[in-house]
């Protein structure tokens, strides 16, 4: 039950893109086509799940016992950057077809603030899923990361669909490009606000 609440909350209610503003750069950058948006979301889901698992272990088994929590930012970003590199190399060897589909998005993920954001969020914030505020345990953290990435993917793909339609619309000159995209994103965020109070 707890896991279902985590998933619904992370995908719909507290969508990382539309209510927390994490990962807005790729959201505006690579959401021109539904297919590229889906590719990017797939790569983000994979990296976010692995990165959260690794940084969670690092926080609780290395940083806290050694009392060097202030090194969190430096260690987490180094871990994420090397992880992305490693995933790229492994994927190239094991599954060239998957690499073909997701490969070009991987280098972009290091500077995707959603990955670092979720990694920091799960070890620093108390959540109120099912009862009193508590820190997430390891399994919950990974579920939260995957659900957040799915929420990111949902918003990306919806938005890419809207932008494909916008290409055909007759938009006033000053609104062309990013301004109309931002206003559309605002309306999408407004729609997602309807999920508030679901959990």
């Amino acid at each position: 039950m707890e896991y279902i609440i985590i998933i619904i909350s992370a995908v719909f209610v507290n969508n990382i893109l539309l209510s927390q503003f994490l990962g807005v750069c790729p959201f505006l950058g690579v959401s021109n086509k539904v297919s590229t948006a889906a590719g990017m979301s797939g790569a983000v889901t994979f990296v976010m799940a692995v990165a959260t698992l690794v940084t969670y272990m690092l926080q609780y088994f290395v940083l806290i016992p050694l009392k060097i929590e202030f090194m969190q930012t430096v260690t987490f970003i180094v871990v994420i950057a090397s992880l992305v590199q490693m995933v790229e190399i492994i994927m190239k060897k094991i599954s060239p077809s998957l690499y073909q589909a997701l490969g070009i998005f991987l280098p972009l993920i290091t500077t995707n603030c959603a990955v670092l954001g979720v990694a920091i969020l799960v070890v620093s914030k108390e959540f109120t899923f099912g009862g009193d505020p508590h820190m997430l345990n390891m399994a919950q953290s990974v579920v939260f990361a995957v659900a957040s990435a799915l929420g990111f993917g949902l918003a990306m793909i919806l938005f890419a669909g809207l932008r494909e339609q916008l290409e055909l619309a007759n938009v006033p000159k000053s609104f062309k490009g990013t301004p109309i995209a931002l206003i559309t994103a605002g309306i999408l965020a407004l729609a997602f606000m309807g999920f508030a109070g679901l959990v």
């Binding site: 930012t73 970003i77 180094v78 670092l116 990013t178 931002l182 206003i183 605002g186």
Partner: protein
């Protein structure tokens, strides 16, 4: 290019938010009020100036292949210094900005300036570039924060202008996207009027 020109370029011609559209996450996430936007801008400016200076002075020593990870580590070190300073001297602001302070590490503006400018220029020029881009970023965030605060809670810099609650939606997430969208429209209109 003279240092003064370097600074003014970052404010207007290469304004990071309105022209280059970089660093959107903190731009949208922290501008619930003018003062929050300004605080975020100043914090980013600090990291930008320090990392620009550090990277321009060591860029000759870094092998080309590992330069991006090295830049990220340098930036992360300055972000950690900033976190400790803010925890000590401005705990209230640190609490409000929350997650977005450590996320300065992955702000594309900081890494972008390191790669595009600081790695190829002198220390003082890089510092001037950091000041210019930093001022441009701070100004944009303050303007967006002021607009959202004015519409969302009918006040500016915490001073109530009229006795009303304002439109709450502009403080919430959708208002951030819509306010920035319309500000960009005004900016574009203004730019095409000039040229």
């Amino acid at each position: 290019m003279s240092r003064l020109a370097l600074i003014s370029r970052g404010v207007i011609k290469e304004n990071p938010v309105f022209v280059l559209l970089l660093g959107m996450c903190p731009t949208l996430g922290t501008t619930t009020s003018a003062i929050n936007g300004m605080g975020m801008g100043i914090a980013t400016t600090f990291v930008l100036i320090m990392s620009n200076m550090a990277i321009s002075s060591i860029s000759g020593l870094i092998p080309n292949k590992v330069r991006i990870p090295s830049y990220i580590v340098v930036i992360a070190a300055f972000v950690t210094i900033l976190q400790l300073l803010m925890q000590a001297y401005t705990p209230g602001l640190y609490e409000t900005l929350g997650l977005f302070i450590p996320l300065i590490v992955v702000n594309c503006i900081v890494l972008g300036r390191a790669e595009a400018f600081a790695s190829k220029s002198g220390v003082m020029d890089s510092a001037a570039d950091g000041v210019g881009i930093g001022i441009g970023f701070t100004l944009s965030l303050t303007v967006l924060g002021a607009v959202r605060e004015l519409l969302g809670s009918a006040s500016i810099f915490g001073v109530k202008l009229i006795n009303s609650d304002g439109m709450l939606v502009f403080i919430l997430a959708p208002g951030a996207f819509i306010a920035l969208g319309y500000l960009l429209v005004i900016f574009n209109k203004f730019k095409s009027r000039i040229s």
